[in-house]
Symmetry: none
Subunit: 217 residues, 4 copies
DNA sequence: TTGTAATCGAGACGGTACGTCCGGTCTTTGT
DNA sequence: ACAAAGACCGGACGTACCGTCTCGATTACAA
């Protein structure tokens, strides 16, 4: 079976479907949108969707791919820490934006559907991870960071906290968080007697255990 | 309106429902199980589920709560880093286990349902975060780590990478990852000329960019 | 099994149930009312209804019994045809009234439930048929009608047309119909050259075949 | 809104639904059959039933329509009374048959649903009433019956007694009843001194008031 | 007068069916 | 020859009632 003749495919329908899918996903989220709605809004038969995609998640995946290819590239100014700050800030900002619902929806779908998970990894995660790794490796070669750490794990340490906030909805990822991540990552936790003992209050910080109900839904 | 008379509630049915829900979730995941199935397997009317819970996610949430309350507590041996290693290893192991599907299912559901998100935070995340924070604060007071970092962000740096692997399905969380996280977090990335430049191979590490499609689900 | 102790029965509840049932039946018909509604409106537990009656139809049956016992009796003036006219007019009027829905509802229920049918016959039909038969027999003995017809069939000829209109909803039973029934029944259809050929217009008469759709529902 | 595109309708499904409905109605009656059963037996989605009919009664109505169109026609031999006897006997026989449950079920449903009532009248009652009226009018013109009676009322007098037995379940309509109806209707009740005073026993006749339980459900 | 036993209001329970919605497939129609 | 349109089967949704089953709290009888 597999896919029909790619050549006869209607680009017009493809575009309308991707646009409608993205639109709907932003309106009510991946789980609450239906293939039927996409079809209706795109002015397309349902079969046309099922012919070319396996699920609404696959449609959304393709729709997202097109819009975000630009954000892959990593800056290079020579200062690794500054470049990381630039890039991570961009990510934190994106994660905090309302427009980002489709991405979290996709990650949610990936939890229950290995195909989505694979596609997500391949198209969204890995290219960005690779870009980050390359920048890190270059910095390493330039002696800006130590060489005895695993680059992959390092990427996870830098971006994991952003995903943590994004997906557990504790508080929105923020620029402040990015700075703190870099602070800790670069300086390390081990005590350094020569350093000042800063105790600045933190507006990001939720206060677990006090008036807990307020941070609901 | 709200809930009916709690006193007349049948504990027998409640148990059967929670058990059935957990069982089904492990069999096919939260998204693919239905309220009807839970009811049938529990030998219960659907209305009995709808009477006491708002959704299948809420049932699962309650079912999970009961089983994991024991894992909150943090060890205290006096050595903060060792205690973190102990606890994070436990988490990494749990995250890797097959039995953990219900938890990721719940996180997925939280992406599209604020009520689930709130409940997840309140019952699963916050108690553990609090426990970790307390341990960290104690270590801080004992001078084992620096005092000028935000504790919340620190928690995110430690656990974020585990969630990253759990939810993005790049590779399973592992004990090795835990060690590396602690290495980086404690030592910091900044170069230290006195240290050896270890280059040990890493079995966890996927090789992005080579035969990338092969690691798909 | 059967019924519980009749002596301890609460007359208060019995009354409230019968009243509520009749009220509800008039509001929305037997089929669309529920035991739950009766119980709620009567301020009574559902069990109290199920304890004493087998179905909502049985409740309604009993409720109706109480209200209509007065209409059984047949007048006796000496003029059979006049007495029939009096009684049948009363019936036609009752059948036409809006308050009569419970009765048709009961007949409807009887079509699918033999118990209701038996109860209906026993409590509502037979006593009235017997009364009518007695009056007819007396008239027969007095020589006011011929003796060579079956009394039962005669009753059916007199009242059947009223039930016909009541149950098939072609047009409401009317006094005019009663007069015509008696005319035909007493005179007979066979031509009598000596009689006048009346051709009075009939306001009751629907005109089948012309603009038929207009008389719908 | 209303009905979808009639042209795309599947005749296959329509047939299966009507057949299943009639079958089920004969098995357990209109009230005790469910839309779900019809769907299952017809191998059809429930939605396909709800798409084209408003209720199970509507389905049954359409199913019955197709089977009974043949019985409308009235015989014409020149002898009105004989023709009436022929036709009414056919009806009496049909009313007595077990296969007739769907019809009584429909009449029952009509008591609580004006749409069913209208449909019943339009499709089942009126065509037959019209056919009978025409035959009667012709007989009237031929001088076989008097001209000073209302034809509609006459139809009710002839058929009302059959419906009476059918719906009140006193005793089954019978050929004997038909003969007696015609006897009374044609001869009239008024005494005729020249006639014999027949007193033949009647097997149809129930004996109200004696051992009444025997005719119970 | 006080137990004792049954009925009572209340309503949770295991179920059945409702009528709606959507997922995926199959058929018809128009271009 | 495509696709659009959309009807189709299947089956889960959440709701409404069914008739049964506890629960105390009356209530009426017997002791």
């Amino acid at each position: 079976m597999s896919t029909p003749n790619e050549q006869r495919r209607s680009e017009r329908s493809r575009r309308a479907i991707l646009d409608a899918a993205l639109e709907l996903c932003r309106e009510r989220g991946l789980a609450k949108m239906t293939v039927e709605e996409i079809a209706k809004r795109a002015g397309v038969g349902k079969q046309t969707i099922y012919r070319w995609w396996g699920s609404k998640a696959a449609v959304l995946q393709e729709a997202l791919n097109e819009r975000v290819n630009s954000t892959i590239d990593f800056p290079y100014t020579g200062d690794l820490r500054a470049d990381l700050h630039t890039q991570m800030s961009r990510v934190a900002e994106a994660f905090g934006s309302e427009e980002f619902a489709p991405y979290t929806g996709l990650i949610a779908a990936a939890q229950e559907d290995p195909e989505v998970a694979a596609s997500l990894r391949e198209h969204m995660i890995e290219p960005r991870v690779r870009a980050c790794e390359e920048r890190l490796r270059r910095g390493q070669e330039e002696g800006q960071i130590r060489k005895d750490f695993d680059i992959d794990t390092l990427v996870e340490i830098l971006y994991g906290p952003l995903y943590y906030r994004l997906l557990l909805h504790t508080r929105p990822p923020s620029l402040k968080q990015v700075s703190e991540i870099l602070d800790i990552a670069f300086s390390g936790l081990s005590p350094d007697p020569g350093r000042p003992e800063a105790g600045k209050p933190d507006p990001d910080k939720p206060e677990y255990g006090r008036a807990g109900g307020a941070d609901g839904a």
